[in-house]
Amino acid sequence: MSEQNNKSDATQQKGKLSRRDFLLLGGTALGTVALRQAAKSPKTTRGAEDHPEGGHLWGMVIDIDLCIGCNYCTYACQAVNNLSDDMKYNIVSVETTEIGDEFFLSRPCMQCAHPPCVHVCPVEATYIRPDGIVAMDYDLCIGCRYCMIACPYDVRVFNWYEHTEDSPRVPEFGTPELPPRPRGVMEKCHFCSHRIDFGLERGLVPGVDAAATPACIVACPTGSRVFGDLNDPNSPANQKLAVSDNPIRLRNDLSTEPRVLYIPPRIKEG
């Protein structure tokens, strides 16, 4: 009899959830959901449906020795991307080698394989396209500028002003190919992705055909920079890499794995 009583007590207790159990269960459930969310790979790749053929991975190779610091790349970029004069996607600076030789460093967006800017964006306004290009969605961007702060290469630019007039580089270096962006959003170099998409639709080869190639590459008078599909061994970029012995990446210690590679200056004799 007493056993039965005990049993019914136990079942009664079983049916009633204590506060501790409730908190424990709730916590476990919440934790599971949170862990599943965290374990998911970042949903930062978008637009696969636009590129059903896939397989491209765009990259750029810049031969430092060939660069003469003319800034044509910067100007062509400003004209084609419809940038005002104070905004530059590509920056040319003077740097020094270990033995004291000066050289020009042309710095577009590195199009990192692991871009710090993409990981920090609170609204997924910046994302990696399936072809490796780090792009912007201007309609999502809230203008918090965290990406600008996270970028180790200082290549993101903010729209501080309302865009009112064309770049002074128009028409000398090109004509605007994109509508201006609103004030208060972030922008960045996107390897002239509009040209790449346009060219691929028409059977052109980006890096080979000028209409499908980033403006800075086309404008470069010395052929210092080449562009192409890193997955295609015959692309100009890969051919350039094949003949150079030690291409480098900027801030390699950060493991961002840029897709813009540099051929370092050769040591001059005498």
Binding site: L105, P122, G143, C144, R145, W160, Y161, E162, G184
Partner: protein
């Protein structure tokens, strides 16, 4: 009920002047100037600030971080009062909730002006990117602000206007509405422990994430540190509790004598003191470790920065170590010092330290930048000085904080009885039509 509250008077040349209206008028004027700045920013955009592509976050972010940190007492005392149910801290806990709400709403306000697209402030709530610390902070702040609102409502509804003011008897609608509010308040009060747990989780999460916002940025050597989240949480608890101690002296000791005993105030000071000391202990270890591991070229360059530009310069040793260590020891022995003027002086210093830590954290990483030269990287120094508009907006949001705090200190009872049921229907006298 209001006669219990003593409002300090201004004494000038033997005459007494009412301090409160003068103070509020002064604050409204300051807010007006701020409003002008806010309109300027919203119409002209962020080009009116001194920010640039290199120094992208400035004064407003420092204000945002500081006001969130100084609201840190809300979760500490939320847990002490609502979860551990330590009764003697009840009234102080109510003040802590108010400080928390003010801190977070101020932060939200100043952040709005810092956005390039202020109208898209709601985007993070809809377009999730759970890997971003800023997304997590936004969600936590939005949710925690709701929790604070739920905790604040019963405190505001304690005011006689909402249960026993004669004006309520003149309108049936008003009476019905306030009765509903009282029921809501009673229900919210019952959910106290639940809210306290949620509040604690949310605030620990984002107070730490605010540090991690900087700590995860490998590209900015000055910031890349695992201790940042810990330091942000501890300094928020220390600074927030110091602010609670200071405001408690004004709200309870000066304006409501007898409502909270002095021993409770001493205990708050001691909590603040202990946490400030713990924070400094960890910061000094952080400094030692950073200097010890400086063999690698990149790290050596960064350490050189840390020691010359910031954050480990003189301002670190004076503003962030001494300003927390000396008051820390003083506040810990509050029961022996006993004199509130001295204790209040010491409680101000960790407050400054908390603000300085944030200012320093934010600016140092942006101002001192490593160049991109692959062979001979050096340090370049960017410059930033806030423009008049930035100061205006800063003044505006701070005067919002002060106005709301002053009104609450002047009018709210802070008794925490939560037994207004006797004021409901049974006690309501018949409406007097002749009145």
């Amino acid at each position: 009920m209001e006669t219990d509250i003593r409002v300090p008077k201004l004494r000038l040349a033997g005459k007494e002047y009412p301090l409160f209206p003068i103070w509020i008028l002064f604050l409204i004027a300051a807010f007006g100037i701020g409003l002008h700045g806010m309109v300027t920013v919203l119409t002209k955009g962020l080009s009116v600030t001194g920010l640039s592509n290199q120094v992208a976050w400035g004064l407003w972010i420092a204000i945002d971080l500081s006001s969130i940190a100084l609201g840190g007492s809300a979760f500490v005392f939320g847990v002490i009062v609502y979860l551990f149910k330590i009764e003697r801290f009840k009234r102080v806990g109510m003040l802590a909730v108010l400080l928390g709400f003010l801190g977070y709403s101020t932060a939200g306000m100043v952040l709005l002006f810092d956005l390039g697209q202020p109208l898209r402030f709601w985007h993070p709530v809809v377009y999730w990117q759970p890997h971003s610390l800023l997304w997590e902070i936004t969600m936590c702040v939005v949710l925690y602000l709701s929790v604070l609102l739920a905790e604040l409502l019963p405190i505001v509804l304690e005011h006689p206007l909402f249960h026993s003011h004669p004006i309520l008897d003149k309108s049936k609608f008003l009476r019905g509405f306030t009765n509903f509010l009282q029921k809501l308040s009673a229900w919210l009060h019952k959910t106290g422990p639940f809210l306290a747990v949620i509040g604690l989780t949310l605030s620990l999460l984002h107070q730490a994430s605010l540090g991690a916002t900087y700590g995860v940025l490998a590209g900015r050597g000055l910031w890349f540190s695992q201790t940042a989240p810990v330091i942000f949480v501890l300094s928020a608890v220390a600074g927030g509790t110091c602010l609670l101690f200071l405001t408690s002296i004004i709200v309870f000791r000066v304006m409501r004598p007898g409502l909270v005993s002095d021993s409770v105030l001493y205990d708050i000071a001691r909590i603040a003191g202990y946490v400030a000391l713990l924070c400094i202990y960890i910061r000094v270890w952080d400094w030692a470790v950073t200097n010890y591991y400086s063999f690698d070229r990149e790290i050596a360059l960064q350490t050189e920065l840390l020691n010359t530009v910031a954050p480990y310069t003189t301002s670190f040793w004076i503003g962030q170590v001494l300003f927390a260590a000396i008051p820390g020891f003083a506040l810990v022995s509050a029961k022996r010092i006993k004199r509130f003027r001295i204790l209040a002086f010491f409680a101000i210093l960790p407050l400054i330290c908390t603000i300085l830590t944030r200012w320093n954290y934010n600016l140092s990483g942006l101002i001192a930048q490593i160049t991109y030269d692959p062979f001979t990287p050096t340090v370049i120094q960017n410059s930033y000085s806030p423009t008049v508009t930035e100061w205006q907006v800063g003044m505006g949001v701070i005067s919002y904080w002060l106005i709301t705090f002053s009104l609450a200190a002047r009018f709210l009872p802070f008794k925490g009885d939560h037994h207004h049921k006797e004021h409901h229907e049974p006690d309501v006298p018949e409406p007097v039509t002749a009145d």
